[in-house]
């Protein structure tokens, strides 16, 4: 009985040891090198990843401000004051993404860092000719921001916690405040011109 016990125990232990050293013994992975996530990534990819993550953060900020406004925690002035730089930041990120040839719809909105890195790598390798993915009538950056935030909201509606209250895109569009693309000032739905800088609104 004692011997049987020892044999069973040794068998289990032996199996565990074999399982452990198998990756080293196996010829395919011998001397294998860890797939590198960061340092192996080309510099341009890393830059693109960072931009995508910046865009992610900028959209999140906008959503947070909208949620706080919706919940009555921000006055109109506070809202406009906080929203203007938040949107300006988002527009700036979009401008930089544009400069790198990443147009609307090429990179998914709402990404984790890993997904951003994968997207960046894909965009770098694919390099689709500009214009092929661009929409027929090119949108201004601000219009693009509106569209992307709507897409983002839709995605967040599926997976993020602190999303805005609304669920229907159309309704969101109708209730969502508009902003001047030039100065970021909050404007009414019916306005044709910005009350702050006078620019014609699209």
């Amino acid at each position: 009985m004692d011997i049987l016990g020892a044999v069973i125990a040794l068998g289990a232990v032996g199996a565990a040891f074999f399982y452990t050293i198998w990756p080293i013994m196996r010829p395919q992975t011998a001397q294998g090198v860890l797939p590198d996530e960061d340092s192996a990534q080309p510099l341009s990819n890393r830059e693109l990843t960072r931009l995508l993550m910046e865009r992610e953060q900028a959209y999140k900020n906008i959503m947070d401000i909208e949620f706080d406004k919706e919940m009555g925690k921000l006055s109109d002035e506070d809202y406009a004051q906080m929203m203007a730089p938040a949107r300006a930041q988002a527009v700036e990120v979009l401008r930089r993404l544009d400069a790198r040839g990443v147009k609307e719809g090429m990179a998914p909105v709402q990404v984790t860092e890993r997904e951003a890195a994968q997207t960046a790598a894909r965009l770098e390798t694919e390099h689709p000719p500009p214009g092929k993915v661009a929409v027929e009538k090119p949108l201004s950056l601000d219009e693009r921001l509106e569209a992307e935030i709507l897409r983002y909201r839709k995605n967040v509606g599926k997976s993020q916690d602190e999303s805005a209250v609304s669920s229907s895109d159309e309704q969101m569009k109708s209730m969502k405040p508009r902003f001047c693309a030039s100065c970021g000032n909050a404007v009414d739905e019916a306005d044709n011109f910005c009350s702050s800088c006078g620019r014609q609104l699209s």
Partner: protein, 654 residues
């Protein structure tokens, strides 16, 4: 014998594998060798299977009452039923340490499976950290308190399980608490992974958010179950005594609560990185410290079920873990700078930070009170006992501030809130709080702390109702939903925020119960003849008879007491006095008549030969609110934990 040998060798082999795993993971990560990392990972999986096997062996040996094993002979006997034989697995020193290790290995296994193709940079260090913790327990289980040691002359009957542990609450409380304690090792391991690998973004936080929540939830529920057990089983009429081991379970929960709040600031604003790293290191250290307090017997406690002299090993491990963790943090300090500055004191960030300071403050006070007897003995040679008065005096005012923050925090916006908006937000909860205070004053509540606690809890409830009302009315306005649907959608679309509010609501209910039952408890001790009665706080208890019964484990005497209110009989309670045969030990089982307004709690102290009996009576107002608060806390935690897409209405496509 097979099970004994298998268990013994499995633990020994696990130790070797753990050492190899740690080395392979760290060396592999440094040299970027995928094969070594895979071997380290497999070693951790091997440890998981071997430790599971060893645990199964010990459970089997307990179930078949194999008295050749010292642990089995010491913790079960011939009369113990299967349920308690199973729970004897964690009824003693060796078994409970094995349970710790088992849970750790299960978590490590799950983490490895979850991250097969994620967090590749972090995982070798995460596995190494988890295995280092496992290694510590394996050293103790192999060389200090081996669970599979055998006796040369096995007894015919075992010593049995401590009678106090023979209660369903005690069966689920320790594993529950351990689920929490051990769970904190996962976010800690990811934090160490982030520090060691230099990937210091929020990935380590988002990857472990659910783990932290899981650990924190079970830690909390474990504390509540412990309280419920103490109330029902120990017979002193309370549920919390600031006992060192209770404190040991509370401390990681408090710091874990702080961590859960402050990570949100890092996720949203890229701030408080050093603070978050420190919090999770401290939380982990406190879980090890808690296990040390429970297991070392260094401080006398109601939990002295398992005493030993290996406390030094825990302290050494604790010290090493702290030095390495904080060393890594200091090394990475330049990369842990905040990305933003705090914009205003009147912001969500600031209120979270203040809540953190308060939680850490309470933890420090509890820690100091807990270790003071040891410190005083070391310094002055006198063991000074620090009792509930110290803890209450220090923690009640800080606790009140915490309730205030619990209500105020949600009213602030991120970044900053203007004075006008703040006034608008604060007015409703404040009116509720003042209204509650006025009503309480009318009803004659004069206890300052209790009244403040009730008022502040009303403030918290006011805040939560306001937040729901704002969210619901917005949805009703924009989505045309009905109120119930709007409330559901609001909660399900913002699980983290509104689940958190439900947890706050649970805490408010719990605090009302704590304040009322500690400020307004009525106690009386009396000796009664058959037929005599005793009145306490409007309740009269009449001693109506005594009966005896015998079970295979114990002999017991029940005293029957009729309970009367305003002259009407509203029921009866039967406090019990038990005498266990093995081990011979008397216990008291209080008779409790539970009610929403108050519990009537009777303890049968002793029966004299002259027919008189001594009783201790207590009227504990609103004590059931503590448990009700616990249920709401559980619901809120479940909402926070639910998968993000769960429970939402699907959008209809036009």
């Amino acid at each position: 014998m097979i099970a004994i040998q298998f268990g013994h060798y499995s633990l020994l082999a696990s130790l070797v594998l753990a050492v190899f795993g740690i080395g392979a993971c760290i060396f592999g990560a440094l040299k970027r060798r995928a094969d070594l990392i895979a071997a380290g990972r497999n070693a951790a999986v091997g440890v998981f299977w071997l430790v599971s096997g060893a645990s199964a062996c010990l459970i089997y040996l307990l179930m078949v009452r194999d008295y050749r094993v010292e642990y089995v002979a010491g913790h079960v006997n011939n009369t113990l039923n299967g349920f308690y034989r199973f729970s004897a697995f964690w009824g003693g020193q060796e078994g409970s340490l094995l349970l710790w290790l088992l849970l750790l290995c299960v978590y490590a296994y799950v983490v490895i499976r979850q991250n097969r193709d994620r967090n590749l940079e972090l995982m070798p260090y995460v596995t190494a950290t988890l295995m280092a913790t496992a290694l510590f327990f394996l050293v103790i289980l192999n060389f200090v308190t081996p669970p599979f040691d055998t006796l040369t002359a096995p007894p015919a009957d075992g010593r049995g399980l401590n009678p106090l542990l023979q209660d369903w609450g005690m069966v689920i409380h320790p594993p529950n608490l351990y689920l929490g304690y051990v769970g904190f090792a996962v976010p800690f391991a990811f934090c160490i992974g982030a520090l060691a690998s230099g990937k210091l973004d929020t990935d380590w936080i988002t990857s472990t958010r659910r783990w932290t929540l899981f650990a924190w939830f079970f830690n909390g529920v474990g504390i509540l179950l412990g309280g419920a057990w103490a109330y029902k089983e120990l017979g002193w009429g309370g549920y919390w005594a600031w006992d060192p081991v209770e404190n040991a379970s509370l401390m990681p929960w408090l710091v874990g609560t702080a961590f859960l709040h402050s990570v949100m600031i890092q996720e949203k604003r890229g701030m408080l990185k050093v603070w978050n790293v420190s919090l999770i290191i401290i939380t982990y250290a406190l879980t090890i410290f808690g296990t040390f307090l429970t297991r070392s017997g260094i401080i006398s406690s109601v939990h002295a079920f398992a005493n030993s002299s290996f406390g030094w090993a825990f302290l050494v491990y604790l010290l090493v873990a702290l030095v390495i963790s904080f060393g890594l943090m200091i090394w990475r300090l330049p990369e842990l700078q905040s990305e933003h500055e705090m914009e205003s004191f009147f912001s969500r960030e600031a209120s979270f930070l203040l809540n953190n300071v308060v939680l850490v403050g309470i933890t420090f006070a509890v820690f100091w009170g807990t270790i003071f007897p040891v410190v005083s003995e070391a310094v002055k040679g006198v063991k000074v006992t620090v009792g509930p008065p110290f803890f209450n005096q220090v923690n009640v005012p800080i606790g009140l501030l915490l309730i205030l923050l619990c209500g105020a925090g949600p009213l602030f916006a991120w970044r900053r809130t203007s004075r006008k908006q703040m006034n608008r937000s604060f007015i409703y909860p404040s009116v509720v709080a003042v209204g509650a205070l006025l009503v309480l004053a009318l009803f004659g509540v004069r206890h300052v702390y209790a009244a403040l606690a009730f008022g502040l809890c009303a403030f918290v409830v006011g805040t939560i109702v306001l937040e729901y009302w704002r969210g619901i009315s917005s949805r009703v306005r924009h989505q045309g939903e009905r109120i119930a649907r709007a409330a559901w959608e609001l909660t399900m679309r913002n699980k983290r925020r509104f689940g958190g509010y439900i947890v706050h609501l649970g805490m408010a209910i719990l605090f009302v119960g704590v304040a009322a039952s500690s400020a307004y408890q009525e106690v009386g001790e009396v000796r009664l003849r058959l037929g005599e009665s005793f009145a306490l706080d409007g309740v009269r208890m009449r001693y109506e008879g005594i009966r005896e019964s015998t079970t295979p484990q114990y002999r017991s005497a029940f005293a029957r007491l009729g309970v009367y209110r305003a002259g009407f009989r509203i029921g009866e309670v039967e406090p019990e006095k038990r005498l266990y045969f093995t081990p011979p030990q008397p216990t008291t089982e209080p008779g409790i008549r539970r009610g929403a307004r108050s519990d009537i709690y009777a303890v049968f102290a002793e029966a004299d030969p002259d027919g008189t009996a001594t009783f201790k009576f207590m009227v504990n107002p609103l004590v059931n609110w503590v448990w009700a608060g616990g249920v709401v806390f559980t619901l809120g935690s479940i909402v926070c934990f639910l998968p993000e897409r769960w429970g939402r209405r699907r959008k209809k496509r036009a």
